[in-house]
Amino acid sequence: MMQLLCVGVAALAIPTALSHNEWLEKRLRLREPKLKSVMRASAGIQDAAGGRARLRQERPEWILVGNSMLNCRVDNAELEALTGHQLYKLSFSGTKSAMWYLMLKTIVVPSGVKPKVVTIMFRDRDLTRPTVRVIDNAEMIGRLDGRALPEWQQVLGAYEASLTSPWTKLTTRLGNGFDTLMPSTKWNEWARNKVQKTAFNLSAFGDNSDYPVRREQRNDLLSMNHLRKSSDGADNAEDDEADKKDTEPPIRFDSSPDQSFLPHMVKLAQQAGFKLHFHRIKTNPDMTPPMDEVQRTRVAYLADLKAWVEAQGCYFTDESGEPEITGRMFVDTIHIHTAPENRQAYQKIFWRQVQPLIDELMRNAGAAPKTAP
């Protein structure tokens, strides 16, 4: 029994001591891991405070909020050069409406930067499906200080409660206990980076001077730009699940504040004094299902959404009817190829679509809202 205890104690004590060892941490220069992201997140932003600091530094007049759909479509510097407006792309891959609301609430508004316009780039029913990607983004929601908000509880309280059974609570507590006992995120980041870097060194056959370039090229070779046409981009399991529900009519627009974050976004924009603009993207026309009963109800849903948004003094644009956005520009259902010429072509189309509205809003910032051109 003594020996069994010794094995158990040693097995737990040694990793615990190592994971709390500050001397080793300093010597190996261990750092907090970066925010997990499917693709590239907004550079340098790790949490709400970091986001606010970044916005204060950039002081944009136009903020674009979104996810990987925005990441692949828009390059900050290119669009800025094209439009002549100082803008900032606040986008995190894999996020949906709940996280977009948090970005507005905990980064944009409290930053003190008063943008003239905030554009949210969305797809189909993103704005009224608050539960999508909430599980995936649990860590990010924590970093954006989300759960304490009353409106978060209003919209997602019941949903999150349904996910947390007593058993889940028990396993979560146990998991948190392990994390406290053996905090390993820094070690994990360090060790995995070491493995990757060593592999890169070995594959460079001694000449590793171009490590960052090769890393970038490897990321590009394995990026969504090269995905098979049959696969659907990033980890879209929750989206797929939500899309399946979209095949069951009727699809109705619901503007009640306990059903989605949309009314809360609108209210926030009104209180903070910026114009809120929603831009619906066009999905890959080659992969869009033919018009059927479900599609017809979706059209009605979008018409209701547009009418409601505009009635609230916000703006709505829709690129889905744009013939120049063709299937050849896409790598999957929703992401476009990020090759510079493709992205630039898209940005030109996008800017042509929104220019009258954005230019007018920039000129009349602070004036009474008008209907979108």
């Binding site: 094995v7 090269h226 995905l227 046409k229």
Partner: protein, 477 residues
């Protein structure tokens, strides 16, 4: 429930808190209840299927034993085996069959629209079906006495550590273990715990890390030769660590509660020929096919042609066992052809046999490793057009950057897989995880060695665990 979850840790700790206080019958009942909870956790309706087949197979075996004539005995055996295969066929292959028949009829304009049949596949159905079939045949052959106790048999049929992904056990090995009260020694419990940790390390640190690379490579549609093959080698690391990790966790869990499961792997990547590989990889399935298909068909006694036929049948069925897809069938046939051709190859070129000394051994190990990984492409890739694309890639139509990226993927996977070639041989060499009581392990020197290994595995897990984890690959079979 999966091994690498806190759910399992709580479940298993709760089981242990009661288990050792019970007599043999009580232990069996508890393990049975735990096994059904474990399986029903995945999906409750799976329990209906497994309990019905269990009662049916148990009854048929008793029927065989009490049959007064050989014909009746045979009938019971045929019924038991057929029902198991029908269940397997319906759940695993009916969708595939209907899909292909309708595709064929649609192609010749005999059917206006394709029919899609979607039947949920119960986890581990191929494993527990094969185990039940083996039991029925063993009882029929008189190699195994029919189990009188339904509880004992049901515990054997649904034993949670090996229920969903094996090893495929024989009743002759397992049932006697259920008859006595299990009071494993503390050194055996220790050994089981560290074996479980070793499996956990293989899954979370090696297999899941390699999986990230593999998934990326197989998701792109235009992978160049070096990138693809870097990904294939990474898949070799992934599938070995994944399956071997599962087996280690299964054996570790079972050992803690006093049940010893058979090993499933024996360093497959140092094999010098395909046949040796199959004696070292998924050994319990290999033995099953040898015992219940290859030998009854005549084995290698009927000359070259009959042996080749038997090998092709075995590997065709083995491919089909792995999955209802053309890629698995091709994978099986590929290995069948390889095994048929290998003796001829050794005659033509002795270095494929035993010639060449140490250099010959290295050559054979590398060659076998490479050729087995050609098969991995068929195993991993389900799209036949993509398989053709992958296998016809031109290694010269690539850039230096492609080679560097491909080598980078390969080296990364190999680095993650290093513990398989460094730690595991040490464990074996020093017999650090003995199955039974070992006086050596009661000495303090070896106790500390085991403690150091456990600490190393836990810290390795913390430092190297993958940010993403998924089901075990073999769960789908």
């Amino acid at each position: 429930m999966i091994f690498q979850s806190l759910d399992y840790l709580i479940f298993f700790a709760s089981l242990l808190s009661v288990y050792f206080w019970l007599p043999a019958r009580g232990q069996n009942l508890l393990v049975l209840a735990a096994s059904y909870l474990f399986y029903g956790w995945i999906h409750p309706w799976y329990l209906i299927l497994i309990s019905i087949t269990t009662i049916f197979d148990w009854g048929c075996a008793l029927g065989m034993e009490s049959a007064t004539t050989p014909a009746r005995r045979k009938l019971f055996c045929i019924i038991s085996v057929s029902v198991n295969f029908i269940i397997l066929g319906v759940f695993k292959y009916l969708g595939f069959f209907v899909e292909n028949v309708t595709a064929l009829l649609t192609a010749v304009h005999l059917m206006p629209s394709p029919v899609l049949l979607q039947i949920a596949l119960p986890a581990g159905i191929s494993f527990f079906t094969f185990q039940s079939v083996a039991y029925a045949i063993d009882v029929y052959r008189g190699q195994q006495r029919a189990c009188r106790s339904l509880i004992e048999y049901a515990t054997f049929a649904a034993f949670f550590p090996q229920l969903v992904a094996g090893p495929i056990e024989r009743a002759g090995h397992m049932l006697p273990q259920y008859r006595a009260t299990r009071r494993p020694s503390l050194t055996t419990v220790r050994s089981g715990l560290v074996l479980f940790l070793w499996g956990l390390f293989q899954k979370l640190a090696i297999a899941d890390s390699a999986a990230i690379l593999v998934n990326k490579v197989f998701a792109v549609g235009d992978a160049s030769f070096p990138v693809l093959w870097g990904g294939v080698i990474a898949f070799g690391v992934q599938i070995y660590a994944d399956f071997s990790g599962y087996t280690a966790m299964a054996r570790g869990s079972a050992r803690i509660i006093g049940i010893e499961l058979c090993p499933n792997f024996n360093h497959p990547y140092i094999s010098q020929s395909p046949s040796e590989f199959w004696r070292r990889w998924h050994m319990s399935l290999g033995k099953w096919f040898k015992e219940y298909v290859f030998i009854p068909l005549g084995g290698s006694r009927g000359g070259a042609w009959l042996t080749a036929r038997n090998l092709m049948i075995v590997f065709f069925l083995s491919g089909l066992w792995h999955g209802a897809g053309w890629n698995f069938i091709l994978w099986g046939l590929f290995h069948g052809v390889l095994l048929c051709l290998w003796p001829h190859l050794t005659r033509l070129c002795p270095v494929f046999g035993t010639a060449g000394g140490k250099a010959g051994i290295v050559f054979r190990v590398v060659f076998t490793f490479a050729i087995m990984h050609v098969g991995r492409v068929l195993f991993r890739e389900q799209d036949l057009a993509m398989i053709w694309r992958h296998l016809t890639l031109n290694p010269f139509a690539t850039t230096l950057m492609d080679w560097r990226v491909g080598m980078g993927i390969l080296f990364e996977a190999v680095l993650y897989g290093l513990p398989l070639t460094l730690i595991y041989p040490l464990i074996e060499h020093y017999r650090l995880l003995p199955a039974a009581d070992d006086a050596k392990m009661q000495t303090w020197k070896w106790t500390w060695a085991q403690a150091a290994l456990a600490a190393l595995l836990i810290f390795g897990l913390l430092a190297l665990r993958s940010p993403e984890t998924g089901d075990f690959i073999y769960f789908q079979f």
